[in-house]
């Protein structure tokens, strides 16, 4: 039986409100599916869902968020075969190579899951001020992060841009690879069954060039990852739009999704809060 691939917004799987879909083919050009083509309205709905989910997700304990991310990895493992088939078809990889990519993607969720309750100690600090004050700095999630996911790496790349944002308590609106959206939607189905609260991750399939400008200029989005934008001029336009509310912007860059990811995407979506209190009797 074939599956209908839909959007994932606020924990539900709607079709695009625009009613549009587009043909997704495999790497050899053979028909795979009709994917929903997300519109401006879908992007806005997704931002509303992400904002609504932020307080609760950000308010959870780090331990709990870590467990939820680990659960994502567990549930992905159960769908290993499906992911491998989709990655293989989408990216034109042999099934054994696709399996390796799925393994790496699952490992990446586990790696990021472990960061949840370590970030504050690695990134935060106690500050020895010159006076009778207790002064400490803690990292906190920036808020709603828009992610224009990589066009080439449909699952490992997507995982590598969503996980570092949500592990610290941000919520995400992701636009998947345009030509390779199927693993993204299956990842949405994993989210829906992994204790990830609705709205924490929202996945739109469609064109980053079409939806990106609405996310970049949206005043309730706090940060944007331009990773999936291939044309430098387009990236510049989006960065300009993002300045309207001073979004934290991650510019597109050469990425090696198989490499050690380091902390830069984790810290990109963190604010540092410094708290002072007098010391005295």
């Amino acid at each position: 039986m074939r599956k209908t691939y839909k959007l994932y917004i606020g924990g539900a799987f709607p079709r695009s409100e625009s009613g549009r879909s587009y043909v997704v083919s495999n790497a050899k050009g053979k028909f795979l599916a009709n994917a929903s083509q997300a519109s401006r309205k879908d992007a806005r709905d997704a931002v509303v869902a992400a904002r609504k989910a932020f307080t609760g997700w950000h308010g959870r304990t780090a331990y709990n968020r870590g467990q939820v991310l680990y659960r994502i990895a567990e549930v992905m493992e159960g769908r290993h075969q499906q992911f491998s088939a989709e990655v293989s078809a989408s990216e034109g990889l042999s099934i054994s190579k696709a399996r390796a990519v799925v393994d790496e993607s699952i490992d990446r969720w586990v790696w990021y899951a472990g960061w949840a309750d370590k970030l504050a100690q690695v990134v935060g600090s106690s500050n020895p001020v010159a006076g009778p004050y207790f002064d400490f700095s803690l990292p906190e999630a920036t808020g709603v992060v828009a992610v224009l996911a990589p066009q080439d790496s449909s699952l490992l790349g997507l995982t590598s841009v969503i996980a570092p944002a949500i592990v610290s308590g941000n919520t995400v609106v992701a636009v998947s690879s345009f030509e390779r959206p199927l693993p993204a939607i299956t990842l949405g189905e994993v989210m829906a069954t992994s204790d990830v609260p609705g709205g924490v991750v929202n996945i739109l399939t469609g064109s980053a060039s079409e939806v990106g400008p609405w996310l970049a200029s949206h005043m309730d989005v706090n940060a944007i990852d331009l990773c999936g934008i291939v044309d430098p001029e387009e990236a510049t336009e989006l960065e300009i739009a993002a300045a309207d509310n001073l979004k934290r912007v991650r510019r597109p860059a050469e990425e090696d999704w198989s490499a050690d990811q380091g902390m830069s995407r984790l810290t990109q979506y963190l604010e540092l809060k410094t708290v002072w209190h007098p010391i005295g009797v």
Binding site: V122, V123, S125, N127, P128, V129, A130, G131, Y133, D135, S137, T142, G143, N222, P232, E233, A235, T236, E237, E239, I240, A242, A243, D244, N245, L246, R248, V249, R251, G262, S264, E271, L272, K273, T274, V275, W276, H277, P278
Partner: protein, 478 residues
């Protein structure tokens, strides 16, 4: 209420030697500007012209960036961290040695009370250089990897509210990380930056490591947009910060922005009342309210509103407004005619929108730019004086009933720089600190700064941190 009258206690100006005109500081030398017109810097307390300063045009900025590039490639970049540290320690010492002079100069050019420039600004300037000096040979411990590298040339633009302190916040971490610098001070307060240029000469800092280009917005724009700049750091208005974020789009430049604020200072019914009143006063009247993190929205729990207001007004009646060089002065001059006009305009809008305005009786000097300490009551969240940064000694008072309501009101702003909490209950402090979307939270204190303590905003208050290890990170490529 009777009170003691104070005799004037002016700090002597004799300690400063202001030249009649200044050039630009490029490549270790003071040089004439090639394509800009000179402009005057005045004392805002008297409107007396203090000096004539050169305006750097694009050609001058280009020269400065080239000098910085050369110094980065030939001298400062290759130099060991240990040796860079020695220069920074030397600069810190020179600042300490000349601290009295720098304090007087700052108060003259900026209008801030000598008590603040002497006890807050200049000691913190020295402390910042001292703190970051110690980082110069420890960069591999800064948390950005084993082999941290500087960006290259940093283009830095600073505001007029804490002229020399903002210079220190920018230059000290930049140099410690191995960058070279072109810095543009604000057009109304260039003198301490130019004195700092002399200090660089006295410290034998290699030419081109620090370059100071004076001028207004046009000069800053030329600097920020210059291709040879790798790292942009700006402190100032959100409006200009936004323009900078747009102008660097699509470039390789790294950016940190420290922008506006509209901090909530939240008073609960169990707050220690005397400290709280002092904290409110310090929060909004420190530095004439020319503070991006000023506690300009006072949120008072309804049950103590009457008492807090009565005490606050009584305390405001004892604030001494006047000569910045008088050691008894609490509130000095507004920095410029333009800023005074903006404060007047927003205050008028406050009245027009229906808020009630109150200031203590106070005699303002006949010359210069002055504004009395002012409090608005009956302010609603929709009022412009509750939403926009006034950047003057003007406090808007709102009320709340529950902690949840306080949080909602405090966070109801596009800014997110700072916040204050006043309560005796420890668990409530920590709960509030968690809920507030602001980069700095002062609990039972306000407007405290330290070189070890990261400072910077959420949301439209900018991005990046200054101070501490995190402030260093902003100057390392990663």
């Amino acid at each position: 209420m009777s009170r003691f009258e104070y005799a004037p206690a002016p700090e002597s100006r004799a300690i400063v030697d202001i030249k009649s005109s200044y050039g630009l500081f490029i490549n270790g030398q003071f040089t004439d500007a090639t394509d800009g017109k000179p402009f005057k810097t005045v004392s805002p307390a008297s409107e007396e012209v203090l000096a004539e300063v050169s305006e750097a045009g694009p050609a001058d900025v280009d020269k400065a960036v080239r000098a910085a590039r050369k110094a980065f490639e030939k001298v400062w970049g290759p130099m060991s961290g240990k040796d860079r540290a020695k220069y920074l320690f030397r600069i810190a010492r020179l600042i300490q040695e000349r601290s009295r002079e720098l304090a007087v100069l700052e108060s003259l050019d900026n209008g801030k009370p000598i008590r603040e420039s002497r006890d807050v600004d200049i000691p913190l300037v020295a402390a910042h250089f001292f703190y970051y000096a110690g980082w110069a040979d420890k960069l591999e411990y800064a948390g950005v990897g084993d082999d941290p590298q500087p960006w290259g040339v940093a283009g830095q633009v600073i505001p007029w509210n804490f002229p020399m302190l903002m210079l220190a916040w920018k230059i000290a971490p930049a140099l410690a990380a191995g960058n070279t610098v072109v810095l543009k001070p604000a057009e109304t307060t260039p003198l301490t930056a130019l004195a700092f240029a002399e200090i660089c000469q006295q410290a034998d800092l290699p030419p081109g490591v620090v370059n100071i280009v004076t001028g207004a917005g046009r000069t800053g724009q030329a600097l920020v947009e210059h291709e040879g700049v790798d790292k942009v750091a700006f402190t100032g208005s959100t409006e200009v910060g936004r323009a900078i974020a747009k102008s660097v789009a699509g470039t390789h430049k790294a950016v940190t922005l420290e922008l506006g604020g509209k901090a909530a200072n939240i008073v609960f019914e169990d707050a220690p009342i005397d400290q709280t009143i002092e904290g409110i006063v310090n929060g909004i009247f420190f530095n004439q309210g020319h503070v991006c993190c000023a506690g300009s929205r006072l949120l008072v729990q309804e049950s103590v509103y009457d008492e807090v207001l009565a005490r606050l007004k009584r305390r405001m009646g004892t604030l001494r407004v006047g000569d910045p060089l008088d050691k008894n002065t609490d509130i000095g001059a507004i920095n410029s005619a333009a800023q005074l006009a903006k404060i007047r305009e927003l205050s008028q809008i406050g009245e027009d929108e229906g808020a009630e305005r109150w200031s203590p009786e106070c005699e303002l000097p006949a010359h210069g730019y002055w504004f009395p300490p002012t409090v608005f009551t009956g302010v609603s969240q929709a009022h412009r004086i509750a939403r926009e940064e006034i950047f003057g000694p003007v406090l808007s008072v709102l009320t709340f009933r529950t902690p949840q309501e306080a949080v909602e009101k405090a966070n109801n702003t596009p800014f997110g720089l700072s916040a204050g909490i006043w309560t005796d209950k420890g668990s409530r402090i920590l709960w509030m600190a968690n809920q507030l979307r602001a980069g700095v939270v002062w609990a039972n204190t306000f407007n405290r700064f330290d070189p070890t303590s990261p400072f910077g905003g959420y949301k439209e208050s900018g991005y990046g941190r200054e101070g501490g290890r995190h402030g260093l990170e902003a100057y390392l490529a990663h």
